[in-house]
Symmetry: C2
Subunit: 387 residues, 2 copies
């Protein structure tokens, strides 16, 4: 066993209150020893190990946990995006465009595209990632997406219920039956960990969403939901009713929704880059945090509403627009994301944690907000095997 010490850390965020100051478990002038896969110890600068990496006073934080991404897609919707921003009509567009582009890509091309996107996310500091299907919408195509995603992470999500495909126009219930039947069987065979549904006007209503989640739960999957993105609706209440790991978006919440989240184990996953890119109002993180809800931040990387892998950008937006503190935003992007994936191993840097960490080109994590847009990810270390 070769041990490694990251030494001369100006400021170490452990997310373990027992290891340092405050909720971030902050240690100044720190060092961190790993055995190449796990954290062995956190202590003052100058600990000894077989190999020494001097980070020269930089800050070290846990690797980001991105609990909501749609990485498996082909094609580019930049023109649609630019039209939306300019307020001009755009004839085509939408999820169905991406479904067509993804179907048209060969397996080899799609694998290359998705791997490159995962590599980009890694360079952005994301050491744990959830990846959804949802641009397939047939049993075979959803299984193909989930198999590809499974090559990159264990945290894969079956999102057959992303939108009603053109072939089922006017027959949404028939599509739900497929999603809950043959397509679910294919997702289980492709070892999906989560089941997800887009519960929104224009996508799936409460009853359809409940049916999808129930079928997924019965098949052994953990439920998640896209809820309350475009307006108030039944999604968050359903999330709590069904014991979802997370309700994602949460842009339009009633007081009852906030109370329900606060008194549940369902994480409110906020996606500020989607609010940015669709010119929606921002979710009110302050209200959720003040009520006692657990909040996660995720990139929602997808070709339509949030084509970014930059968790730093999400953190800066969450502080500017959602009134989180910089500390809260960092936690939401690390242990908050872990909670949304029902994981307690990642998102922290204390003894026994995987040594998944980011060295920032900055003396403090505050710079992720103080220096918006500046590439501050100096080094990303993933010591654990992605699972």
């Amino acid at each position: 066993m070769t041990t490694v010490v990251y030494d001369n850390i100006g400021q170490l965020v452990t997310n373990d209150p027992a290891s340092g100051e405050g909720p971030l478990g902050l240690v100044r002038n720190a060092s961190l020893v790993t055995d190449g896969s796990c954290v062995l110890s956190v202590g003052p600068a100058g600990q000894i190990a077989d190999e020494r990496i001097d980070v020269e006073g930089r800050a070290v934080i846990p690797g980001f946990v991105d609990s909501h991404s749609h990485l498996v897609f082909a094609g580019d919707r930049a023109e649609e995006f630019a039209s939306r921003m300019a307020g001009t009509p755009y004839a085509a567009g939408g999820i169905r465009d991406t479904v067509a582009a993804t179907a048209a890509a060969t397996d080899a091309d799609l694998r290359r595209i998705v791997s490159a996107r995962r590599a980009e996310a890694f360079r952005a500091g994301i050491t744990t990632i959830e990846i959804k299907s949802g641009y397939g919408l047939t049993p075979n195509a959803e299984a193909r997406a989930l198999h590809l995603a499974r090559e990159l992470t264990d945290d894969t999500t079956y999102l057959g219920a992303h939108v009603v495909p053109v072939a089922f126009a006017g027959r949404a219930d028939d599509y739900v039956a497929l999603v809950c039947g043959e397509m679910l069987d294919a997702a289980v065979a492709a070892r999906a960990r989560f089941v997800d549904v887009f519960c929104e006007v224009g996508a799936f209503d409460a009853d359809q969403s409940r049916e999808v989640l129930r079928a997924g739960i019965d098949a052994g999957l953990i439920p998640k939901i896209h809820a309350n993105q475009l307006g108030q609706g039944p999604g968050v209440a359903l999330a709590v009713e069904m014991g979802c790991a997370s309700a994602d978006h949460c842009t339009h919440l009633s007081s009852a929704d906030v109370d329900a989240l606060a008194s549940s184990t369902t994480v409110a996953t906020l996606l500020p880059a989607a609010d940015f890119s669709t010119r929606q109002p921002y979710a009110d993180a302050r209200r959720l945090l003040d009520a006692g809800a657990t909040v996660a931040l995720a990139t929602n990387c997808n070709p339509g509403s949030s084509n970014t892998t930059s968790m730093s950008f999400c953190i800066a937006l969450a502080v500017r627009e959602m009134h989180m503190t910089a500390d809260e935003a960092l936690q939401a992007a690390t242990i908050g994301g872990a909670a949304a994936l029902r994981r307690t191993d990642v998102g922290r840097l204390s003894t026994g944690s995987p040594a998944d960490l980011v060295v920032l080109d900055a003396p403090s994590h505050l710079h992720l907000v103080y220096r918006p847009g500046v590439p501050l990810i100096h080094t990303v270390v993933q010591s654990s095997t992605p699972r």
Copy 2:
């Protein structure tokens, strides 16, 4: 003379309507030949030269022209920033803190810090930069800042009138006399190109600002002004009256201000990252553009209100928040910035222009907005000598 061809350009922005489609002068499947310092020709892919650089279908744009930066400073105000974002009081802070930190830095340290910051801006695609003094506030300290800035660019700006220093509390007019006298002489000796003043409640009023600009003009400097950042005021009217190259900020404008800018050669320089970092409303670029004003985008890189070198971030904000189109925002960050510096050489890529260009890790400049936060600057080429 060795010629170089950048070949296989998916999409080339020339900013020269005679060279391609629309105001951007867009050429698809292009190549660009340089002699190592200037553009020799723009044409279809496959032009021949001594050396060939294959950009593999990526987009190429003119290097960014950042017409408003305060790079010459030492110290860090991240804690002040985080307190402001959290809405909690912060005892110290402000420009005077930075003045003290800058004064405390040795020449060697300050040169190292400022050079590193310029290098960061270069990696962000900024090939032409304006740099202001303004954290000195004594004749010697302002001259020191201008000399340091002059090592990096010819576009240096004397901003002795940044704030009334503590030593002149209650004696602002005495400070203005110094700014217009001995300190101006030192700035001229340090070869400043522009004179600037912060015209705002709490800084300098219209009469004081006019006096500073008049003295600078009489000494051969080109006037610029910080105007209408925190509220409506006389700054923009004064900018037009004095023939300023630019009025910078323009967050709070009356109809008369908009009309005055539209019918003048004064560029409205917008600084969205400052509006972001101070949680101010955003300047209304749409209104200015629709009225016919020339708009520039700049980073305003400074330790208090906008600690970023990311022009890409500014462009994305300008589209989301200021309702510019992606094309307008790119132009504002290139030829718009050049206009604010009274330069016609930079900010474009047509025959005879300096070969200052950015290869994007994207097929189109739209990705600067479509993929916010993602580091898309693949290669930066500065063929011209910085002037």
